[in-house]
């Protein structure tokens, strides 16, 4: 506890420059852009199959996809000012889509949001789309979902599980972005050297931002619990006795 408080204080007293995800057009070398496209493709194809399967089984799933996609789109392009860091960054929102729709469909949701952002909002890029989909869609969704499921199996309350999923999905997204940048840009420096440099720049903004992401995820899960607990039971998120 004391160590945690010291860490928080250090970040506040010595603010640093910070970075965020959504790698811009042309930042990654061509071979790395292709690499991340190839790595993301199977997840996207699997996500599309899941989407088709679920929507054909249950038509009521479609409005939920529309609602969650719009939510992820807005959240992932909403810059939030972080006073400690003196700069803005944005959450990813993929923990919400992973919990509600499943991690595979969440990859498709992330891709949809990222394409519009890179084409019309100068946010991200088409050449770096594979890398951005992998960090936000794949890493964020699967880690967020895994944390949520684990927390539920440990009998943690729904809202707490949602909060933890949001926090860890955010960290997973940004850690993957650091890996992508370090691998693509290392040049003469070592991978670890660049990784640590970017990681240190990330912490002041990502630590508070991940808490915001956790609160957002918990908020959406809680809202659905209050308004449509039957839907959460149908999606296997909630047990009948908890409703």
């Amino acid at each position: 506890m004391r160590l945690f408080l010291i860490a928080i204080l250090t970040i506040v007293v010595f603010p640093n420059e910070s970075v965020a995800m959504h790698i811009a057009e042309g930042i990654l070398p061509f071979k790395w852009s292709i690499f991340w496209f190839i790595l993301s493709a199977p997840f996207f194809i699997y996500g599309l199959r899941e989407l088709k399967k679920k929507t054909s089984q249950d038509l009521s799933f479609k409005p939920l996809i529309g609602f969650i996609t719009a939510t992820v789109f807005i959240i992932s392009c909403m810059p939030i000012p972080i006073p400690f860091a003196g700069s803005c960054s944005h959450p990813a929102g993929t923990a919400i889509s992973a919990i509600i729709l499943g991690p595979a469909i969440s990859v498709v949701v992330a891709l949809s949001a990222l394409i519009i952002q890179s084409l019309f909002l100068a946010h991200g890029g088409i050449s770096t789309l594979g890398a951005n989909v992998f960090s936000m869609g794949v890493a964020g969704s699967f880690i967020g979902y895994f944390v949520f499921i684990t927390a539920r199996r440990l009998n943690l309350p729904l809202v707490v599980s949602g909060f933890l999923a949001g926090v860890f999905a955010d960290w997973a997204t940004y850690l993957t972005t650091i890996i992508e940048l370090s691998a693509g840009l290392m040049g003469n420096t070592t991978f670890l050297e660049l990784f640590n440099k970017i990681l240190l720049a990330f912490i002041p903004v990502q630590l508070p931002l991940s808490l915001i992401e956790g609160l957002m995820t918990a908020g959406v899960v809680s809202m659905l619990y209050k308004k449509r607990p039957d839907l959460l039971i149908k999606l296997n998120i909630l047990k009948e006795k908890e409703a």
């Binding site: 420059e17 965020a20 930042i27 009521s60 529309g66 609602f67 890179s118 084409l119 100068a122 720049a201």
Partner: protein, 89 residues
């Protein structure tokens, strides 16, 4: 103890905001995506290229962000209403 710590942290954070606002006025509140990633990329010989559709012209980007928020917000509200209506069916 924790309460005192939180108050102290908040005061330090607010003071720091003012100090750094003067020191780095140009960089204050800039999107970190561009400021640092692009900076590190430049240090390593990579320059960001122009977006395929360049919307960073005057207030065009501001308009598009507003439009995206408007349409996204409308879609959220529309589908949320359907989700609530499904309950009544």
């Amino acid at each position: 103890m924790v309460k005192l710590f939180l108050i102290f942290t908040l005061i330090i954070a607010l003071l720091n905001s003012f100090v750094f606002a003067n020191e780095k006025a140009d960089e204050k509140w800039k999107g970190v995506d561009e400021v640092i990633i692009e900076k590190i990329a430049k240090e390593h010989g990579r320059e960001p290229s122009e977006p395929i559709i360049n919307t960073e012209q005057g207030d065009l980007l501001l308009f598009l962000f507003l439009l995206a928020g408007l349409l996204g917000g409308f879609a959220m509200g529309y589908y949320w209403r359907i989700i609530l209506e499904q309950k009544r069916l």
